[in-house]
Symmetry: C2
Subunit: 543 residues, 2 copies
């Protein structure tokens, strides 16, 4: 547990909740139900982004919330103003409440998860378990949503593309930006532009410069006579990088088919200034004026100058235009320079793309063919444009050992009653076959032994399954104040996520019409559930 | 300024930025540009939600950020690990940087604003002005987006509907939830379910109970013999509320056409428990089992019992089903009870609706006809489903007094160069006519005097305008460390927002195909801008 991030947003506290949790707690207390033992399941009903899987995230934050769950005197004073007429003794009770009376089960953070499977099960005194609802939902919903989004971008772009999260400026608030950086890294990204996220969560931070840097230079004269750059290796020799760059610009103009007079000299000055500052990390934005007639010529001129004094440039970034066309065109120009000048590495300079990219853009670029090595992705990644919320819910499934069901006109919204165990069954090829929900009292499935599983809602859908491996999904992480499992570092979570996704069959992961993963119940749980359902549902009357 | 909220998320700090701001600052410093005086404009290019207006929000947070803008030793240590090879003296410079050298102009928080108009103009040393970019964008983008969304819900629902924000559980992180509560209140909502937001920002908090409260009771016996409720007024007399409720259930069954045996007795117990806890605030969720055959009968029985001992019930909440049909049906049942029992107020009990409501749902309900008094709105409001990000940008427009322009293939992305003043011109009827951008050196428009205004991009679009009132929009809020204007309380901002929207012509506000509001430039700025544009844009060659 030494790897846990020390950070948690200070606003994660018991008052970060809906008022109705407090009013309900009061009504439970007032009606002598404070010692009733409740079981709540936290789950979602539908995978996001028209996909068929979700990455579960937010466990560490939930555990920290449980550890710190305590109403302060100031909280109580405020609540008294909001709830006049409430029995004073309730506030004494509330003041003493902690998560020490609860057992909380979690699925491991970073695993792929599916609809209707409890991600968290909370068991304990009814008012206390109730009071956790909103905060747990808040901590799980966005974390899981954005981790899933990141994983989808990773699947779309393939394993060899560098993915950078650039979303802070468009995120839904400061903390939205931080969470995005953290959970995108976990979901499969390689780094972030967000410096604070880098510091707090040990994520690689990346970035070069913006258009403003380029437009801040109007011409070479604005370098203020600052032209000299030392040769790499510390020989003490220096070179006039302006002189070199102007020479190279001239040299390559015929090869790259541009007119020297038409390249923007402010842009050239900016690139030189950047090279002087970061000779080892020369990667610049080339679309401020005109990519092919100014940006790339200027870049090549400076990169060749750097080469002459021992440095190897990194590459360029495109932030507008037709990314497939431009990246291919740029790659051709790099190849041409590589060949003409006999500098092989010039061919494989990095091309970063970063203009309003979403999952579909990447797929479309792949179909068209492109030469991009890396994407910088902001808005659509962090705000989850395609579906900005994951609909996790928190439902009461048992009280004092009696199962409870929430009915609905919409069958999909009916809850699966009772305290349950969840098992993930693996096939012989190592892929996961099915998640099975079973009553807590049932024996767990056994490897190599046939098991009858059922669709929870459709009687005719039944199957036998014979697992090669059985994994217990819900684990007792929080045992009345004790944390029973270690919480991995973010890098470990990233590996776990990657591994979990790799166990999922390809057809569940594809972008278009993926096959739904089967979530099933045991025969016993099926019968139990439907008995309770019928006993709670009055027979309708058509009128 | 005594009204300012003391709260600011601790993560709002100089490191909450993109790494490239730091690398650029270094390159400016390294190339002797640290004392260049830059002007940056922060603006957006397109109103959100297919609308034609935006509410500007986040000013107070930006000011607090400016006040606290200071790199700590710990920040510097971290940056050194991220940027090896950077000249040590730069970090000494960075350590000394503050916002005290800047002038920052803001439009008043809460005003309606439009594309291309600078909402913030930052003027000062290039590296320092640059370093603010990401954080300012982050603080303005979501705040303005969600305030605008709230304002649109208010316009759709009309002035007499109570609007409550219920979004915490689905918000993009803890802070997303808090910001949503704050800026939705400003944008036109009446309250929130978010207790911490209530405490921090003095927003009315609302809430009753969830389905879990209802399902936690299986029958009357679970009231544990707790049946007595004192008469209102402190006479000391008490009544058995279970006995009363069962009596009333029987009495009204023939009027409301339900079967007493089919009403859910667990639900009745839950309602009684809630009434015992909150006799003065009896508002319950009626759709756990069956709205018309169980929820409403049980509600009416308990409400009539409360009436018998002096209390007036508040109403019901619907969280599923056909809200138009159900709300009308429920209103009819209330009217029937009001008439049969001679209790006039029963007819006007509150009907709250809260199932996945968005702007279109409200419009559609209005078209169908409904009987809803209040909406509780979560997911779509706070995550801004229709468009989860506002695309504010931060562009360099001048340096050392020289104008700078950012060109683009997309004309809409070309920036308007130079330091500017912004004026809002009003017509005789008090509505706003046009926002005009003028060069900082120009004389301001005068009331009653004709002014030539131009579309910034289309030469043929010109008009004369004669304003009745002229308002200066960009104000010097932050004058080198001094805050020159008071920052209103949240309630004052709410009033300002409401007033500002009321000055906007109806056709700009309508949901379907609203008329674009005109943002114009003066003739002088038009000519100035196009001269610079042409001098920076090479003539293309068709090939």
């Amino acid at each position: 547990m030494t790897d846990r991030s020390p950070y948690q947003n200070g606003v994660v506290q018991p008052l970060l909740t809906d008022l109705y949790q407090i009013t309900m707690a009061y009504a439970y207390w007032k009606n002598n139900k404070k010692d009733d033992i409740a079981v709540f399941d936290l789950f979602f009903r539908k995978n996001p982004f028209h996909g068929e899987f979700t990455i579960f995230a937010g466990v560490e934050e939930c555990i920290k919330f449980l550890e710190n769950f305590k109403f302060t005197d100031q909280d109580i004073s405020y609540l008294k103003t909001v709830l006049p007429g409430v029995d004073e003794r309730f506030f004494d009770y509330l003041k003493a409440v902690s998560a020490k009376d609860l057992k909380v089960y979690f699925i491991d953070e970073g695993l792929v998860v599916f609809p209707k499977v409890p991600l968290i099960t909370v068991e304990g005194p009814l008012p206390i378990a109730q009071l956790l609802e909103t905060t747990l939902l808040n901590l799980v919903n966005y974390a899981s949503l954005v981790a899933t989004n990141a994983a989808r971008f990773r699947l779309a772009s393939g394993p060899n593309t560098t993915l950078l999260e650039f979303g802070l400026r468009r995120a839904q608030g400061p903390d939205g930006g931080l969470s995005a950086s953290r959970y995108c890294f976990m979901g499969g990204f390689d780094g972030t532009s967000n410096v604070l996220a880098g510091k707090l969560f040990d994520i690689p931070v990346k970035g070069t410069h913006a258009h403003a840097f380029v437009t801040s230079f109007a011409g070479i004269s604005e370098l203020n006579g600052h032209h000299m750059l030392p040769f790499r290796g510390g020989s003490g020799k220096t070179a006039d990088i302006v002189e070199l760059s102007l020479k190279w610009l001239d040299t390559i103009s015929s090869h790259l088919d541009f007119i020297v007079e038409e390249t923007n000299k402010g842009e050239l000055a900016a690139f030189i200034a950047y090279a002087i500052s970061f000779p080892e990390g020369f990667l610049v934005l080339v679309d401020t004026y005109d990519v092919l007639r100014s940006g790339i010529p200027n870049f090549c001129a400076v990169a060749l100058s750097l080469h002459e004094i021992g440095y190897q440039a990194k590459g360029i970034r495109l932030d507008s235009g037709d990314l497939a066309y431009l990246s291919n065109k740029v790659r051709n120009m790099f190849t041409l320079v590589a060949n003409k000048m006999g500098i092989p590495w010039f061919e494989s300079l990095s091309i970063v793309a970063s203009n309003d990219i979403n999952e579909e853009t990447i797929t479309s670029l792949n179909q068209q063919g492109h030469s991009i090595n890396s994407y910088g992705i902001g808005t659509h990644l962090v705000t989850c444009q395609k579906q900005p919320a994951l609909g996790c819910v928190y439902k009461l499934v048992a009280i004092n050992g009696d199962p409870r069901i929430k009915l609905s006109e919409d069958v999909n919204k009916v809850t699966i009653p009772g305290k349950k165990n969840i098992y993930r069954l693996y096939g012989a090829d190592g892929t996961i076959l099915v998640d099975v929900l079973m009553s807590a009292s049932e024996q767990s499935p056994e490897e190599g032994k046939r098991l009858l599983i059922r669709n929870p809602f459709i009687a005719s859908k039944r199957a036998f399954v014979c697992p090669t491996k059985v994994e217990v999904l819900l684990k007792l992480y929080w045992d009345k104040g004790q944390v029973r499992y270690s919480l991995p570092s973010l890098r470990e979570l990233k590996e776990r996520t990657c591994k979990s996704i790799s166990c999922l069959r390809e057809d569940h992961k594809r972008q278009l019409n993926p096959t739904p993963y089967k979530v099933s119940v045991s025969d016993e749980l099926y019968n139990f559930m439907h008995e309770i359902w019928l006993s709670n549902q009055p027979i309708g009357e058509l009128a």
